[in-house]
Symmetry: C2
Subunit: 393 residues, 2 copies
C-alpha cells in the first residue's frame, strides 16, 4: 500500500489519504497545534470528534519540558498525551533560531558579537547552543538531536532540522543558511536511517526565502534526498501574493507523488491558495492562539475571517457567534457572554473560542476536500473569499 494515496485532483490540488503508523489522515488537512503535548484547553477526544486526524507536537518545547526521555519512558508522545492518532513533530529549528536571530545573522556573516539579550550562546555547523527558558541551563540542539528527540517522541512524521530564515535577512544570508539546512538534512537522513523507527516518516524542509532560484534549488535538493515528504518553510514573504508565489516556486520541482506540508500558514484565503497549489497538510498556531485572545473565526473575508469578541459592540449582543455552527460556544452562548468571559480573562472563554475556531477550520477543510473531489475547488474558493456562502451542503 502506498503511504500517500491521491484519490482526486483538481488542477494542482489533490485530495487523498496519508497512511501513517497511528492511523490515516484525510488530505488536504489542517493540523492543529499541540505545541506542549496538548491542544490548549481541549481534550484529545474533542479534537478527534471535530474530525482532526493529526496534531503537531513541538520538538523544542517538549525537549525542554518535560524532556523527550521522560516522554519516551511514558510510552511516547501518543500515550503521554492520550492522542492515539497521527502526530507530526516540527524540527525545533524554528524555536531555536527564534531565540536569537541577531546572533544567527551576525554569525553567518562572520561577525561573532552576539545579541546580549538572546538566549543563544553559539551557532555553528554542528548546531545551536542556548540557554533553557525553563531553568537557564545550557542546552544543545543540532540535526542529530532533533532527530533523536523526534524518534523518542515517536511521532508519525518527523521534520528535518532547519533554519527558518526570517523575512528581513538578505539574499546572501538566505543562500548560505539554505545551504547549511541542506547539509543538516543529510545528517538528519543519516541519523534517521540508522536509528529512527522504520515507520517514522521524515520530511525535509524547503528554505530559500523569497528568492525564486534559491527556492527551486532547495526544492531540488530536498526532493533528491529521498525523504518521505516535502515541507515548505521559512519566510514566505510579507504579502499574500508573494507567499503564494513562493509556495508555487517551492512545489514546482518536487515529485508530485510525495505528500507536501506547509508550515505555519492558517489564514482562510492562504489555505485555499496553498491547497490549490498542491499542498496536502498545513499547520498553524493562528486558530487556537486567536481564540485565547478573544478572536472567533467567522465567514467574513473583509475582516480576515476574524471577529474580535473583546470589542465593545458585542457587550450586549444576544446573538451567537455563528447561528449555523454546531460548536458549544455557538450552541449555548451569546456573543455578549463570551465578550464578558474574554474581558474577565476566564478560562471558559478561551476554551469555548478554541472549540469554535477548531470547528470552523475542520468544516473548512472538509468542504475543501469535498470541493476537490467534485472538481470545483476554484468555485468554492471564490465563494469563500468573496463572502458568499461557505457551505457546500
Amino acid at each position: 500500500m502506498e503511504r500517500f494515496q491521491i484519490d482526486a485532483r483538481d488542477g494542482d490540488a489533490r485530495a487523498g489519504v496519508l497512511h501513517l503508523r497511528h492511523g490515516t489522515v484525510e488530505t488536504p488537512a489542517f493540523v492543529p497545534l499541540a505545541t506542549s503535548a496538548t491542544v490548549k484547553s481541549m481534550l484529545p477526544s474533542e479534537v478527534a470528534e471535530l474530525g482532526y486526524d493529526m496534531v503537531l507536537g513541538n520538538t523544542f518545547h517538549l525537549f525542554i519540558q518535560p524532556g523527550h526521555d521522560l516522554i519516551e519512558r511514558m510510552g511516547g508522545l501518543h500515550d503521554f498525551m492520550a492522542w492515539p492518532h497521527p502526530i507530526i513533530t516540527d524540527s525545533g529549528g524554528f524555536q531555536v533560531f527564534s531565540m536569537g536571530y541577531g546572533s544567527v545573522a551576525e554569525e553567518i556573516k562572520g561577525n561573532r558579537s552576539g545579541d546580549r539579550r538572546s538566549r543563544v550562546i553559539h551557532i555553528g555547523e554542528e548546531g545551536v547552543r542556548f540557554r533553557s527558558y525553563l531553568d537557564g541551563g545550557e542546552r544543545f540542539m543540532g540535526p542529530e538531536t532533533s532527530m533523536e528527540v523526534q524518534a523518542a517522541l515517536g511521532s508519525d512524521i518527523a521534520l528535518a532540522f532547519d533554519e527558518c530564515t526570517p523575512f528581513h535577512v538578505d539574499r546572501d544570508y538566505t543562500a548560505r543558511s539554505a545551504e547549511r539546512t541542506h547539509r543538516w538534512l543529510d545528517r538528519c537522513v543519516e541519523w534517521h536511517d540508522a536509528h529512527a523507527p522504520a515507520w517514522q516518516q521524515l520530511y525535509g524542509i524547503i528554505q530559500g526565502g523569497v528568492y525564486e532560484d534559491l527556492r527551486a534549488e532547495s526544492a531540488e535538493r530536498i526532493s533528491q534526498s529521498g525523504v518521505d515528504g516535502i515541507a515548505v518553510g521559512g519566510s514566505l514573504g510579507q504579502e499574500k501574493e508573494q507567499m503564494r508565489e513562493v509556495v508555487r516556486w517551492s512545489l514546482r520541482p518536487t515529485p508530485p507523488e510525495k505528500p507536501r506540508h506547509l508550515l505555519g500558514i492558517g489564514d482562510v484565503d492562504d489555505i485555499l491558495a496553498s491547497v490549490a497549489a498542491g499542498i496536502d497538510t498545513l499547520d498553524c498556531a493562528t486558530p487556537t492562539r486567536l481564540a485565547r485572545h478573544g478572536m472567533a473565526l467567522v465567514h467574513d473575508p473583509a475582516h480576515r475571517w476574524r471577529l474580535d469578541l473583546a470589542k465593545a459592540p458585542w457587550k450586549e449582543s444576544d446573538e451567537p457567534i455563528d447561528p449555523y455552527c454546531p460548536c458549544p460556544a455557538c450552541r449555548d452562548f451569546t456573543r455578549g457572554y463570551i465578550h464578558y468571559l474574554i474581558r474577565a480573562n476566564e478560562l471558559t472563554g478561551k476554551r469555548l473560542l478554541t472549540h469554535h475556531n477548531l470547528t470552523f477550520m475542520a468544516r473548512l477543510m472538509r468542504e475543501i476536500r469535498e470541493a476537490i473531489r467534485a472538481g470545483r475547488l476554484a468555485d468554492y474558493a471564490e465563494a469563500v473569499t468573496s463572502g458568499g456562502p461557505a457551505r457546500t451542503g
Copy 2:
C-alpha cells in the same frame, strides 16, 4: 407545595428537596462556585451532568464586571451564563469587607485612620464605599444595593448583606458587627419584600464569630426575621472542632423546617460534620480552586483528601489519579501527564482537575444523601474519614 421538603432524617441530618424557581435541589448538596458567572473552565452542561442542581454566583464580582444591569438586560444570570438550573448568590459582604479589614476594624472601634493599601473608602451604617478593582472608580454597596443586584441577577436564592467577621477580631468588635448585620438584615427584608421577584428566596446570615452567646443571639434574630432560609457565615474558628461547635451553636435556635446553608466550607470531614449537624447546602471555592493549583481530591483522609500533582513523585507515574473515577482526567490520563500540564501551567490541566474535583464532590454528596436515607450517615462518615471505602455501592 412546601418550598423545602425533608424526606429523611438521620440524627440531626436531613435529606430532602429544595423547590426553587429554576428547578429542584436535592439536599444535602454541595454548591460549586460560579463566582464570575462561570464554573471556571467548565461548561454548564458538564456541571449539570455531574449531578449538580445549583451553583453560586458572586454578587460583588458581577456588580463590578459586567454589571448587574447588563446581566438583567441580557435576561438575568441564568440566561447570561446559560445555566437554566437554580442559582444562589452570595451577598457581596464578604468581598466588600475583604478589601479592607484593617479599615473595618478601625472604624467600628471608633478610629477612622484607614489602611492605605485598602480599596475601602468608607464604612458606615449605610454601607461601604470603595474603589473598583477594575477601573478604580468609586462604588457603593449597602444592604439595598446588594438586594437590588441580586434581584437584577434573578438568582433563586439571595443572601442578605452582612459583614463576615474574620477570626482575628475580638468579642466586642464581633458583637457590634453582628448587631449591624442584623440591622442590615431588616433593611434587606424590607427592600426584598417591596422590590424583589416574589419567587426569589432570601436567606439571612448568622454571624457572631466563635462566641456561643453571640451565635445564639444572631441565630434567633435571623430566625425571627421571617427569611426563607438560614445561612451560617463568618469565622467558624481556627480548628475543625471549633468550627463544628460554632455550626451547632448557630443551628440550635433555628426552626428545623427551614433550609440551612453553610458558607465557605468544603473539606470532606467538615462537610460530613456539618451535614450531621443539620446543614442542607454548602458552597466552597476549595474543590475548584485547588484544581487550578494542581491539587486533586482523592480518598486520602491522612492528607486532607488532597493529592498535589505538581509534586515530583508523580513526574513519571503512569497511574490515573483514581482508577475508579469516571471523570475524563482519570479515564484518559496519567498522573505523570497531569503533573506535566500543571507544571507547564496548561489550561487543559486546570480543566481536567476541575472536572475531577467536581466529580469527586458530586459523588461524595450523592453518597451522603443515600446514607441519610438509609439511616447510616455515621457509619458512612466513619468509613470516609477513617480512610476506608468511600463508596456505598
